[in-house]
Each structure stands twice: as structure tokens, then as C-alpha cells.
Symmetry: C2
Subunit: 403 residues, 2 copies
Amino acid sequence: MDLVTEKFSKLGVDNAPGQEARQKVAELDIRGAKIAGKPVDFSHGDVDAHIPTPGALGVFVDGVQLGTKQAYTEYRGAKAICDDIAAKLAKFTGAPILGDKEIIITPGTQCALFLAMGALIGRGDKVAIVEPDYFANRKLVEFFDGKLVPIKMDYFGANNCAGLDLVQLEKAFKSGVKLFLFSNPNNPTGVIYSESEIKTIAVLAKKHNVALIVDELYSRQIFDNHDYTHLRAQKEVPESLITILGPSKTESLSGYRLGAAFGSSYIINRMEKLQAIVSLRAGGYSQAVLKIWFSEPKGFMKARIAAHQDIRDGILKKVRAIDGVKARTTEGGSYLFIQLPSMDVDINAFAKIVRQLTDVTITPGTEFGPQFTNSFRINFSQDKGAALSAIDRVMKIMERYRR
Amino acid sequence: MDLVTEKFSKLGVDNAPGQEARQKVAELDIRGAKIAGKPVDFSHGDVDAHIPTPGALGVFVDGVQLGTKQAYTEYRGAKAICDDIAAKLAKFTGAPILGDKEIIITPGTQCALFLAMGALIGRGDKVAIVEPDYFANRKLVEFFDGKLVPIKMDYFGANNCAGLDLVQLEKAFKSGVKLFLFSNPNNPTGVIYSESEIKTIAVLAKKHNVALIVDELYSRQIFDNHDYTHLRAQKEVPESLITILGPSKTESLSGYRLGAAFGSSYIINRMEKLQAIVSLRAGGYSQAVLKIWFSEPKGFMKARIAAHQDIRDGILKKVRAIDGVKARTTEGGSYLFIQLPSMDVDINAFAKIVRQLTDVTITPGTEFGPQFTNSFRINFSQDKGAALSAIDRVMKIMERYRR
């Protein structure tokens, strides 16, 4: 097998969220009849149930009417929009951002992550990632020919913190890791790193000259007034630090494909060079939509967070009533990572069976780390009634397979 | 210098089209006063002068109103839209395309090119490219750690063909080249490959098992009823063949960031895997805009082509009146590659001087191959009067520096 064939054989997408329609119908151990109910796709949020920020389409149309100027921006994004969101993000994260040097607008936060990792990973470089964490992280390390160094997060055992294994992290940093990336709130568990964990990560990274990428995609959707610590606002931070944020989740603006990365200017410069050959720029007209980001109508964010907290509570009540099923309470974001008891089928087969028998789509835990063979992730940004009914159906199917 | 630093030091964007605002004001040999006139940015087309296809914004808004279904498509694009454009592109290019297997929608044709090259280039693979050709081609080969094998195109010496050196091409293929990519019509010269050239490329690629990427971005804008041959419709084609097309140029839909790649299903599969970690998908709502592609209002394309042919003729008349300046007549697309006489400054400095003294942006020839030290590219999809005045100013500045 040649190098490129080998690389792509490892880059699977068939079990990735949103790709379920492409799955081949394999030989599944189907038990019992279908359970009828409204189809729910837990692999992503439902922007029909939680609609995009009011005014988004209006500023998009204004952008189209601006014409050439908006269609052809600099590769890193239109200057005025970069300046505007730099100021807003600086305020939100508690540390300054230079609009002309330290920020880039990307087609979605996925692309921000791709560009940041492409800017920092050389062939053979050691890259530390958390397990569990966002499924694309591992694939990106492989694509850029890095060497993966997993760091354990004991999200069930921890109290008042995420449970990151800081001893293992320091050992990894000492062993020559060049980059550590993690999402906060964590995807898929929804846990938030404590101030102490964040401080320790920052100090260790600075000490061992490790670059950091912090994916804060869900940091605007915090439940129960939980504390949230922005790493970039810490006193001691490493020289190489990129924070990623975008309006695709809480704000439901995913259809416009927008993200932002901000931090060390030399990394932003590399990211722009890479963006020039990846996709030139984030869609010009879409960039205009960022004008309403962090300027939502009064009460919009508060209501949205409350609605999601309510759905979370409803689902947790249901799953916790079932023996052997557990989940840590989501502290931020729209994900729940639910652990099931032992079953006769593996989690990949279970997800396919659930889809066939209930029209419900869930994401297998193994997308987030090879050891999560009994867990699945859901994005509960859904219509509440539909989500609760869907969870009931998933649990009923589970009972047919539990040992 | 570590591997990744070295890679990015080679990936310059400062002289790339559209990036001129970021250029540092260096020590320039400024001669004479500014020449006033309407600013013209020849680095890209002006969608204010040649407006987007009527109806584009309407179908975009329809897409937004479709909600979740349109926001979260499969990574390769919404199935119905893939099927629709596969049928249209099959008709246009003269060979069938399977909508569910052989096409992917990308955020712009730049991303289509990135994904196709990423899907085919392994570390150390030899990649043949034409000189001159699209500036990103060389950068992409470098980014994917390929080895560049340049193929000469004698666009001034050739008659009734592009002038590709087919002897050199076969020699390169025999030497183990794995991939050959080229744009047709050629960017920056606007020449169209003859049927004989296309047939030879296809036959040689099949014989030597070379993968082909054909960038046909401008193939809908053909002047003087010139013949155009789609490679993918030839009897003999290699197993690995991708064609790239998009609505950003003639159709002026660049602000929506849309492109398509179609061909060998195993390459499309790899491209989708890569797109999943690069940017997930082309903007969901933007994808809806493809519904009007190849379904333009009656007469729209004909009028657009005629308007561009008229601008081309006006510019050619002006530059050909000047001793020592030459350009091959554009056969397709909106580019002219204009060769100047020897000057006291190099073409990069000249471009910067022109910008300072005339508010006109041109792209240095060296972006398209290191040997094009006396040429520059313009995109003449501009307001006609503004373009003609801008060319006058550029030529006047040239006279101040010619030897």
C-alpha cells in the first residue's frame, strides 16, 4: 500500500456524525420490531428547533449587496469584520486581540482547527490529545503525520474539575510533545475544566514550550452558572497559543460555515497561508453574518441556555432511572456522553441497530477514543419532546441487547 | 529550522492575488508623479460590473428557510443537489457522472483542488504541472511534500493549440510522475488545449498510469466559438481522473464559495474524508445556490461572454499598439498574460510601483512560474471603461522603467 492510500485507509468517515446515510446495511443482529416515533438526528443540533440568531439572514443579504468588496476579502477575512470580532472576543475571553494580526476568519471552526494543526504539526511531531475529545482531533494528527499521545480524562471520577490526568500530561510534555489540543467545554462529555486545571495546563505548556490549541466552541453555553476559565487570559501562557470559537452551535449559524481562530500572530500568519491554498477565504457574504455575533437581541442567549438546560435535565432524569446507565451532567454545551451497560453487540453495531429500529441517530463513543466501547454521544439541541421520546426508544432497544 | 517552519517559509501569500493590502511598503524606485484614475483590482473579477447570476440570492434564502436539512448536508453535499448538478455537468462535459458516487461539492474550486491533490499526493511523489499555470498548483505540491516536475507550454510559439511540450510530458510520465494537473482554459494565458493535445494527454496518462486533475473553471466562457475538448469525454482516459468546475468566475458567484469535483469514485471518497476534517462541507445554505447553475436565464451566458470578449479586444488593441508589449489572445476565461519589455525593476517591484502610482492591482508573472519575470496577469472581468483607463496607466508607468 502506498503512503497516501495508507493514510486515507485510516481516515474513516462512515461512523462520523452526519454521515450515517452512507453506511452500508451490514449483517445486523436485529432483535424485535421497530419502535415508531419522530426521527431524531442526535449527531448534530436541530436549527429548526433552535433557530439561527435573529437578523443573520438580513446581514448576509446586506453583504451580498455590498458586492465585490464583500465577495473578495483578504484571505484572513474582511478587515473591518476582523477588527469588530477581535474586540468582542477580547472582551469575552478577557485578553486583548489585535484585529490586523491575531485573528483569522475561517469556513467553520472545523477549518480553524485544520489550519491551526496544519500550522503547527510537522511530520513525526508528538501531539497530545485528550480521551475522550472531539473525534476529528485524532484524524487530524494522523493526516499531518504527527504521533498521537493520548491523555486520560477521568470525567466520572472527578469532582469540581474535568478530571484531566495532569501527571500524565506533564510526563507527555517532558517527553517532547510539541502541541496539546483540547476542547473546553469538552466534546463529548460537556465537562468544564476547573481554573486550577487550566492554570496548570498553561504553566506546564509554557515551561516545556508546548503549543496549545483550545477549542472553546461551546463556551457561551454554560449551565448552572458554572465557572469558566479562558486559558488565554491566564498570567502565564505559552508563546504558541490559539483559541478557536465560532457561531455554529449555541447561535445555530452552522449553515453559514463560520469560525474564528485567534492568538499568536505567527501561527495566524501560517494559517492564512494555508487557508489561501485550502479554500481562499471563508465565504465572503457569510463573513458579514459575524456582525451580529456577540450582539444578539437582549435575552436571546439567556433563553437559549435555559431551554437547553431544561432538555438536558429531562434526558438525564430518564437515563439515570435505568440501572447501569450513567452520564456526567453536562456543564457546558449541548452534548451528553452516555455510558451503557455491557451488551451483546458493540457500540458501532448498536448505533446502526438503533437507527434501523427507531430512526434515531447517535454517535458511537469509539469516535472519541478507542476505549469508549460502551458509550455514545448525543447533541441534545433538539425539540424537547422529540428528544425525550427518542431517548426512551434508544433505552428500550438497549434492554434488548444488555447482558 | 524545523520541518513545519521550513514548509511555511516557502508558502508565501504576500504577492498572491487579493493580498496586496498586506504588502509592506518597501524601498521602491518610484519615478514620477501618480496618475489619477479609478482604482482597478485586476487580481480578481469585479462582481459589481458583472453581477451574480440572477436568482442566486433567492435560492440561497430558500435554502435558509429549508433549515436543518440544508444546514447539515452530507460532507460531500446534499444528495438532491449532487444528483442535479451531476446530470448537468455530465451533459456539459459529454460523459456520465453518478450523483451518489462520482461528485463532491466543495467550498470553492480552490478547495476542490486542495482535496483532489491531498487525495492523490503522497510524500515524495512526482507531480507534473504546466508553466505557466495557476499559482496555487506549485504551492499545493510543496504543501503535500510532492516533487515538482514542470512542463513547458510555449503559448506564444504555438498555432491552433496551447503549445504544451508533449515530448517533455511523456518523458516526465516515463520518469514516474504520479499526477499531472493543468487548467483548461489555461490560467493565466487564456489558451485552450487543442483536441489533439487533450487526446495525447489522456492516452499518455492511461499508458503510464498517471492520475489527472483538470481544472475547467473557465470552460463556460469560450470566445470566438473556439473549439473546446473535455478530457473526461475522451475514449481513452486514465483510471484516476478528476475534473474541477465551479460558478465563481463567469457566473460571478464567488461570494458564495462553491465548487465541484467529479470523476473517479475512489478519489471522490478520499476527498470527502479529507473534507470532513478540513471544513466538514461546503456552506449548507450556499449549496442551494447550485440549483440555478447551468440554468441561467435565456441569453445570460451569451451576453456575458460577448461583454468579456469586447473588453478583451479593447485591452489587446491598447497593449499591442505599444512596442515590445505582447499577449496571446485569450481564447477562454477572463485572463490576459501580458509580457513587457525589459525594465529597470523586477516584476514584483513593478506591480508594487503600479499600485502606488495608479491604484491598479496586477499579479506578477512569477506567481505562475519562476521564469515569467517580465509578465503580469490581469482578470479583465471589470467595468470596461475603468479597465481600459487602468491599462493605459499601467503602460505609461512601464514606459518610465523600460530599458
